[in-house]
């Protein structure tokens, strides 16, 4: 067991740090949270800077245009960019972390050449059209229908909770191509251009008051068969391949950010006198233990992925379960520090407290994670 880095890794870190120090001051000011087109431009601008400096697609395979970095290098990259206050992947999330890796793993040479470079260069935004009104945790129950018509699929149905749908160029879409097959076997993965006729996007306001996700209605939308990744009716497997691209690095930046927030909370508490309350101090002390442990668990999971050649361990669900809860506790503690000001949306941490509420729901609810841990790791019998 070792927590030191190799000279090569330290050099990678030093060069990255130097580059961040040089470029971050040249960034334009952050756009207002509600200006989605401006946010898209900002996020893509940052991606372009990464691309020009050779940091785009760090963890992607080389033959997909990536840098083939090790999980540890990816960890260092996320750690350093967060610590330096660099922009978050933002609107590039689905392209860089889900749709892109799916295409890299399962797409044809032609599909890779068409869709991957614009993602890496920060030219195109992807969104994820998986969830439906009647298919959330039970994603495989999805009903959006795709019927073959010549060289096209004709798609009708509706998607919901689609993040960044309004500013996306492409959607990675799961559709039902065989309604008579068992539910996991009749699903197909399609790349759908968001400007195709028949698509209506209706923004949904989140409890934080913002419109970061949307409903997407599909009415006889024609998607060329050539936009299908993987075989027809093999979409469930195609999608799961990508979920397993997760190499323990999913929350690196966020854990670092939480540790920074915790330090800021302590300083604020000291300034406003709350620090004199031993119960509050102890609460913050416990959170310090929690986030230290989560950081160590991240390092553990990344090392495990490293050892197994990129295949993730079972640690992902355990981590997500623990982290999403810890993050909510962090912002509840922030409210304790803020006192009456915790009700003021203009105070720092108050909007973050609101968005932290989605962590135990998005990307698999905590209940679903517990089912996964119990059934796939502990081997308990499957539920009814």
């Amino acid at each position: 067991m070792d927590l030191t880095y190799t000279p090569e890794e330290e050099e990678f870190r030093a060069r990255l740090r130097e580059w961040l120090a040089a470029v971050l001051p040249t960034l334009p000011p952050k756009p207002p949270p509600e200006d989605w087109p401006a946010r898209r431009a900002y996020d893509l601008g940052w991606q372009r800077m990464l691309y020009d400096a050779g940091y785009a697609g760090l963890h992607w395979p080389v033959d997909a245009g990536g840098r083939g970095a090790t999980p540890t290098q990816h960890l260092i990259f996320l750690e350093e960019t967060e610590q330096a206050g660099a922009p978050y992947v933002g609107a590039g999330f689905v392209g860089l972390l889900h749709a892109g890796p799916t295409i890299a793993a399962e797409g044809t040479a032609e599909q890779r050449a068409r869709w991957l470079p614009p993602i890496l260069r920060g030219e195109q935004v992807w969104c994820q059209g998986f969830s439906e009104p009647d298919a959330g945790s039970d994603l495989a129950a999805l009903r959006t229908r795709a019927r073959r018509d010549g060289d096209d699929y004709v798609v009708s149905g509706s998607k919901i909770w689609t993040s960044h749908a309004e500013v996306a160029d492409w959607c990675e879409l799961l559709v039902r191509t065989d309604p008579s097959a068992p539910k996991h076997r009749g699903i197909t993965w399609l790349a759908m251009p968001m400007d195709a006729p028949g698509i209506t996007v209706r923004p949904l306001k989140t409890l934080a008051g913002s419109a970061e996700f949307a409903e997407v209605f599909l009415d006889e939308v024609r998607v060329p068969v050539g936009h299908r990744v993987g075989a027809e009716n093999d979409g469930w497997r195609v999608t799961m391949v990508t979920l397993s691209f997760e190499r323990g690095t999913a929350f690196v930046g966020e854990v670092i950010a939480c540790r920074r927030v915790l330090g800021e909370l302590a300083r604020e508490a000291r300034k406003n006198g709350r620090w004199d309350d031993p119960a509050l101090r102890r609460r913050l002390g416990r959170l310090n233990a929690e986030f230290r442990a989560l950081w160590r668990l991240t390092q553990w999971n990344v090392s495990e992925a490293e050892r197994s050649g990129g295949v993730p361990g079972a640690g992902g669900s355990v981590f997500k379960l623990r982290y999403s809860h810890a993050r909510q506790e962090l912002y509840d503690a922030a409210a304790d520090v803020l006192g009456a000001q915790a009700l003021d949306l203009d105070r720092p941490w108050v909007p973050d407290r609101l968005s932290s509420l989605s962590y135990t729901i998005a990307a698999g609810t905590s209940q679903i994670q517990r089912n996964i841990v119990a059934e796939r790791i502990l081997g308990l019998p499957k539920g009814r």
């Binding site: 067991m1 070792d2 927590l3 030191t4 880095y5 190799t6 000279p7 090569e8 890794e9 090790t70 540890t72 915790l262 330090g263 909370l265 302590a266 300083r267 000291r270 620090w275 031993p278 101090r281 102890r282 913050l284 002390g285 416990r286 310090n288 233990a289 929690e290 230290r292 442990a293 989560l294 160590r296 668990l297 390092q299 553990w300 990344v302 090392s303 495990e304 490293e306 050892r307 640690g315 355990v318 981590f319 379960l321 623990r322 209940q367 994670q369 517990r370 089912n371 841990v373 119990a374 059934e375 790791i377 502990l378 081997g379 308990l380 019998p381 499957k382 539920g383 009814r384």
Partner: protein, 303 residues
């Protein structure tokens, strides 16, 4: 690329862990545990065997007859001890061997220490570290850990307290992973309403919570073993205590009425976890250390 960061067990560490597990399961398996319950006193033969196997001398240099390995290896060994509920003042004797207390390394001497206002196994000890004068026996809640209370807390603490806290956390971790296994085993085999109770989600989620706490605590304990940093140790202690205490409680719940019996091992895990949690002193101390760390880079920060 040379070797990447490797926060995983090395092959040697795996071998050591498996070796210790085999030794302890062979020498102190379930039957021995139940026998110990009915046989007051410490098994001196076992103690010497542990000494011969190098359990106490793990971190002593080979030139002095030790095993010559480090803190991570000691943590792995203590984790195994926690799994099987190995009785005796293991941590105190191990640390006494480091301090060259005669007989500790070989297991010829049983060494105990005043920790958290209590002394474990005082009547069996050949050497007591710390001031145990005026110690009064109490009727220990843990049938396998006789306890004395020291009136004024036992005076100043020895300098190896953080290591004692870490090795105790390792035992807690071992106990927590064992109670998780016991709960899962029971949940897979006990049937009600025509199915294993582990098919019920309420039971399943208790088990998942246990594994979640074990996994997080393990990362914290192993990291503290690598860094030996007092803050990492304080964090490891909080996480490991939580995993052991909460884990034993949930394990008991999963066992139903069987969990409330003397015959089941679950209560032994819970009771020992209570003793160990106390051994590391007040929880508030660990929490305050970690709170203070949040202001560490502030000039003039006091707490």
């Amino acid at each position: 690329m040379t070797r990447p960061v490797h926060f995983q067990l090395t092959d040697d560490q795996r071998a050591l862990r498996d070796g210790v597990r085999e030794l302890l399961e062979g020498r102190f398996g379930r039957q021995a545990l139940r026998t110990a319950l009915d046989t007051p006193g410490l098994d001196r033969t076992l103690w010497r065997e542990l000494g011969e196997a190098g359990f106490f001398a793990l971190r002593l240099p080979e030139a002095e007859g030790g095993v010559g390995v480090g803190l991570p290896e000691a943590v792995l060994a203590f984790e195994q001890a926690g799994r099987v509920l190995l009785p005796g003042p293991l941590v105190a004797t191990h640390l006494a061997a480091d301090a060259r207390v005669p007989g500790a390394a070989t297991g010829e001497a049983v060494v105990t220490a005043v920790q958290g206002g209590l002394v474990e196994w005082l009547d069996e000890a050949d050497v007591v570290r710390g001031d145990a004068s005026g110690a009064v026996p109490l009727r220990s809640v843990d049938p396998l850990t006789p306890l004395h209370r020291v009136p004024d807390g036992g005076g100043t603490a020895p300098p190896d307290v953080p290591l004692a806290v870490l090795l105790t956390a390792a035992e807690q971790l071992g106990s927590a992973s064992r109670t998780c296994e016991l709960a899962v085993q029971h949940a897979r085999t006990r049937e009600q309403f025509g199915r294993p109770v582990g098919a019920f989600q309420a039971v399943k989620h208790l088990c998942a919570g246990m594994l979640e706490r074990v996994g997080t605590a393990r990362a914290a304990v192993y990291a503290a073993a690598v860094t030996a940093d007092p803050l990492d140790i304080a964090a490891a202690r909080l996480l490991a205590d939580e995993a052991a205490l909460h884990g034993a409680r949930d394990c008991l719940q999963v066992h139903g009425g069987m969990g409330f019996t003397w015959e089941s091992d679950v209560h032994l895990h819970l009771k020992r976890a209570w003793v160990r949690a106390r051994r590391s002193g007040d929880v508030t101390e660990s929490e305050e250390i970690l709170a203070g760390d949040l202001l560490a880079d502030l000039p003039g920060a006091t707490v």
